[in-house]
Amino acid sequence: MRIVFKTGYMQDIHPWKDRYQLVLYLILLTVVAAAPWWLDEFYLGELTNVLIWAIAGLGLMILTGHTGQVSLGHAAFLAFGCYANVALIEAGVPFLLAFPLAGILTGIAGVTVAIPALRLHGIYLAIFTMALSILMDDIIVLSEPITGGVAGKYVGGVEIFGYLVDRWGTPDQFFWLVLTVAVLVTLGYINLLRAPLGRSFIAVRDSEVSAQAMGIDIARTKMISFALSCAVTGWAGALMGLFAGAFNNETFSVLISIQLLMMIVIGGLGSIHGAFLGAIVIGFLPQFLSISKEYAGALFGGNTVAIPGLEFGIFGMILIAFILFEPMGIYGRWLKIRTWFELFPFYRKDMFKRQKSYLKTERLR
């Protein structure tokens, strides 16, 4: 085990533990950035998709993983970001300006939503955001002049510094665009967690009462959390729109919201790694299923008919298994494995055991 001896206060909030860890992450980044050279076009597209999901997951992670506000409606903000981006581009704003603006606009939309939502706790907030996501579907249909309604919108490539970046025409460039956004968002997220703001998010999540006692303005913190979360989600939505090329009111249905929440739970709530790991699961599950179906079909004799709902069924089962056996998600499992190796003879089974707690009502406060 590598032990870092801390000799200064700043080391406590250092973004990485030591140089060794930093080098590891840089190697990972290089390998991923070189993906266009070692992956074929299909899997490059899949990887791009995974990265976009990861950005969306990071957005939701700020709100749900770090501030403890469950949102079942982030597809609404994905849609908002996507349509804002496209509308701005169509209005003649260059992409490099339209893209950040789309995120900022989504953030503002998030704050508008957060103001009434601030009074709601736990389950009520989940239902509120879920209703929002359902409403968004109809709002998109109703605001047809901007959104194209049921017929939807089509977006071609965008121009960055004179280069045409297009999902189909230049998948390499599009991948690098997505990767750049993902890296920037991740760096911002790491720094947010070091900053007082990020710490106050975690304080609000763990106990609102003690956070208040320490002088944190809960309403303000939740509002900022909503704004940041929605802004990041908006960027993910804008990229999703570019990735899909064509989209309409059904692209960002309430199922996407639910999928997004489940994704960060599978990955591991409250960790940046979790958003990426969850995105990998979500991104590759369909491929994995179709491959294993073919394999099973070859094994048991040519029965490869599509079973409707199979994907969501399997997905649900994986999720149930995770919540029962590994509430900390894939990242939690990875931590446990790593700790086991690091502490080899001294690892104890109950090291990560949760404290038992009993339920007290939230209903009558």
């Binding site: 209703a131 249909v141 649900g316 149930i320 009502t361």
Partner: protein, 291 residues
Amino acid sequence: MDNAQLLISGLANGCVYGLIALGFVLIYKATEAVNFAQGDFMMLGAFVTIGLTNTEYMGLPFWLALPLSLGIMGALGYLLDRLIIRRLFGESQTAVVILTIALGFVIRFAAGLIWGHEPQTLQNPLAGREVRFGGLVLGMEDVAVIVVTILLTWGLYVFFNRTKLGLGMQGASQNQLAAYYMGVPVKRVQGFIWALAGVVAGIAGILFAAKGAVDPTTGLLGIKAFAAAVIGGFGSLPGALTGGLIVGVIEPFASRYIAAGYSQIAPYALLLAVLIFRPNGLFSQVRVKKV
């Protein structure tokens, strides 16, 4: 006359929403968890009854299949608590929420595998008969829905407010540890309430299947029932029924009097309004804690 007809059919629809909402409220009242799979439970109840009754499946007589399928639903609810929910004892509400959403996916998938994805109706003795009051026409199924819903709500209300077990459940929901010290068998109470919620979902499913066709996605109706439960105030049984009726009545009137695109957002718009202005619902339970 036209409006009265709309009102009546809206009320009958609303009762189904109210019944699903009743399931939410039951579980919420007793365990402070929200079962997002309640709508899918209802769908499952409908399909179990169809599987027992319809001639192309087992073809049992309706009045024999009825208690049988309710028993199955109750057992399923109990098993669900016993095998899965109980392990989450003491964990955050979010875990239960996500778990039940996932469970909904699994139930939908399983129902699709067993009974297929075609819409089906329950072959029941009430089908085709109707009652007339003056100029109003009301199907026998609708009458059954309304009567059963009112009886069930009343029965559960009495159960929660008058009987020892019901009061114990309320205690268990407010503070598990304290209730346990006072001699409430918290775990057994929780198992019982999930079984009860299964039975209520079964009743809702049977009534729904008698009124119209069901397919595996029918469970998504549960989202509307959510609106009903929230409008009425999660945690109040008469509130759930009222919320269901409000949602049920709003729908036909909205589609009749409001422009086409706007009508379907009415229940959700109402839900948002209620959450914003009265976050605890119309029949909120904000009073002094008893435990």
